[in-house]
């Protein structure tokens, strides 16, 4: 599998649209096109192998399932993960002849993608810094009350930032990817320590993604129980993800009703105190 210039440019355009800050906007760009699962579909379509694209996308999605960027501090860049990492991982899988659905295939894809994603943070800082130029022009226009020019700053000029820091790097890295992958394959045998480490890291990395998410929802040790409950559903009971969500939904409804009951309790107590023996009357009615 190789990537030609037209394919690389299409991937570069998607890289410009996705990510934070992306030109597709936050909802469509960052949270749709930037997600590795969607990136996997698009790379699969562009490179002509949808199943491999999706499977590589899924593998990478676990690592970046909770990519929150509080205050703009990033530890990875989704445009690099989705539109440089996934195509390169697809090439690597084909080159090594690994099944993308196997644990080894997933591990290799994850290692490649995460490496690229981490390096990709450079692209984030590059775009954000170049945008300062447009914003500087924008403030000057605000001072001069030329408000009609403001949309240029928000919607048009950032394209220049993205051509420099999304399109060109994506095209360059996708085109250079194949020889690099082949070089690694030649120099590092799969049963050597470096490649064994690479595969092992690939299996361990998704734990970080999940842990970032848990950091958001676990306040005390008891909060681990829902997580471990879900883990048990899938690992011990073999229930699939869609079915697990249904089970989880039932618990969510129960918790919501309990919480609402808790809120109503003080109100109910005061009203029953006002009415003479209100509780007893209710019981007799039933």
């Amino acid at each position: 599998m190789s990537i030609n210039i037209v394919q690389a440019i299409i991937l570069g355009l998607f890289a410009s649209l996705s990510s934070m800050p992306g030109l597709g906007g936050t909802s469509i760009g960052n949270y749709t096109l930037g997600r590795p699962l969607v990136g996997g579909l698009i790379c699969g379509i562009v490179l002509g192998d949808i199943p491999t694209g999706i499977l590589v996308g899924c593998a990478m999605q676990v690592v970046y399932i909770a990519l929150v960027t509080p205050g703009g501090t990033v530890s990875a860049d989704v445009r690099a993960v989705s539109y440089i990492g996934i195509p390169l991982a697809m090439i690597a899988l084909k080159s090594y002849g690994l099944d993308p659905a196997s644990a080894e295939g997933t591990a290799l894809a994850t290692s490649f993608g995460t490496m690229v994603g981490t390096i990709g943070t450079v692209l984030f800082y590059g775009t954000a810094t170049m945008n300062l130029v447009w914003q500087h022009m924008g403030w000057a226009w605000v001072d001069k009350r030329e408000y009609d020019k403001l949309p240029l700053v928000d919607y048009v000029f950032p394209w220049i930032s993205h051509i420099c820091f999304s399109l060109i790097p994506t095209v360059a890295m996708c085109m250079a990817g194949e020889p690099v992958v082949n070089l690694i394959k030649e120099k590092l045998p799969m049963d050597g320590i470096p490649m064994k480490t690479l595969f092992t890291v690939g299996a361990l990395l998704p734990c970080v993604g999940i842990a970032i998410l848990l950091k958001q929802i676990v306040r005390n040790v008891l909060d681990f129980i829902p997580y471990l409950f879900g883990f048990t559903l899938a690992a011990s009971m073999g229930i699939n993800l869609v079915a697990s969500t249904v089970v989880a939904g039932l618990f969510a409804i129960l918790i919501f009703k309990l919480k609402m009951l808790e809120l109503r309790k003080p109100a109910a107590a005061s009203s029953s105190a006002a009415a003479d023996n209100g509780w007893d009357d209710d019981e007799e009615d039933i």
Binding site: M20, G22, G25, T26, S27, Y31, T32, L37, G40, I54, L55, C58, I65, P70, S75, A103, E104, T106, T114, T118, T127, A128, L132, Q135, V142, R145, L150, D154, P189, K196, T197, T200, A203, L204, L205, C207, I210, A211, L213, K215, I217, P226, Y227, L228, F229, G230, F231, T232, A234, L241, V242, S244, T245, V247, A248, G249, A252, I255, K259, L263
Partner: protein, 279 residues
Amino acid sequence: MAEKKLSKKALNSGFHRWYYGNLTCFSQEHMQTFGYLCSMLPLCKELYADDPDRMAESMDTYRTFFNTEPQLGAIIVGVTAGLEEARANGAEDVDSETINGLRAGLMGPIAGIGDSLVVGTVIPILLGIAMGMSGGGSPMGAIFYIIVWNLFAYFGMRFLYFKGYDMGTKAVEFLVGDIGNAIREAVTTLGGIVIGAVSASWISVKTSFALYNEAGEAYMVLQEKFDSVFPGMLTAIFVIFCWWLMAKKQLSPLKVMGLLVVIAFVGVLIGFFNPGLAY
């Protein structure tokens, strides 16, 4: 003077500009400020069409730094649209200071709720379900995610924006109030369970460590022992270990990743990990 009322067209334009442009011209220095400015532009133009000085005063208000979670933040933009309309009608208690005080006061809490609810829970749940539909490389899951998330985001943001415009700060009280809390707690539990299932289905940390007797037969395969205690135990241990490093030891995700590389390397050297591949 007739009461000024924002037209549906201007409000729609303001909303769409926020929906699309909240972060398109992001920089570390101003973050969402320009997105906000551009979103208020059609509204201010309509309200102050005949008064360039008041227009300038109003636009200057939105020069102040702004950053929040953009989806949930639509409610703040909606609230200020309502406030700007009140200011145009001469409400005495609404000036640049009150508007900016409100923006500054709301952007923190809304960012906190939005990051944990939208980015940290709703999106992972949708992705989890979508990954469950992607078995064998099927595009079903990705298509499901694209459709469901975008409908949710567009109509959710629209709802919040117009609720904010109609109800002002009362709309925000719903989000941070008791019912909002109950919904969040329920959704968080849902998210926790789904993420547990995602971990068990998509992460596989396994050890190759075994002890052999003199005949060369393995009499103690560690992975089997782990699985007999709790299937997938090693995966769960590693996830909780990473959580502990980040939540309790305050390590950054990048440092944790680096540490995992070291653990993997040492593990391979002592034979704890072995992917068992060869050409």
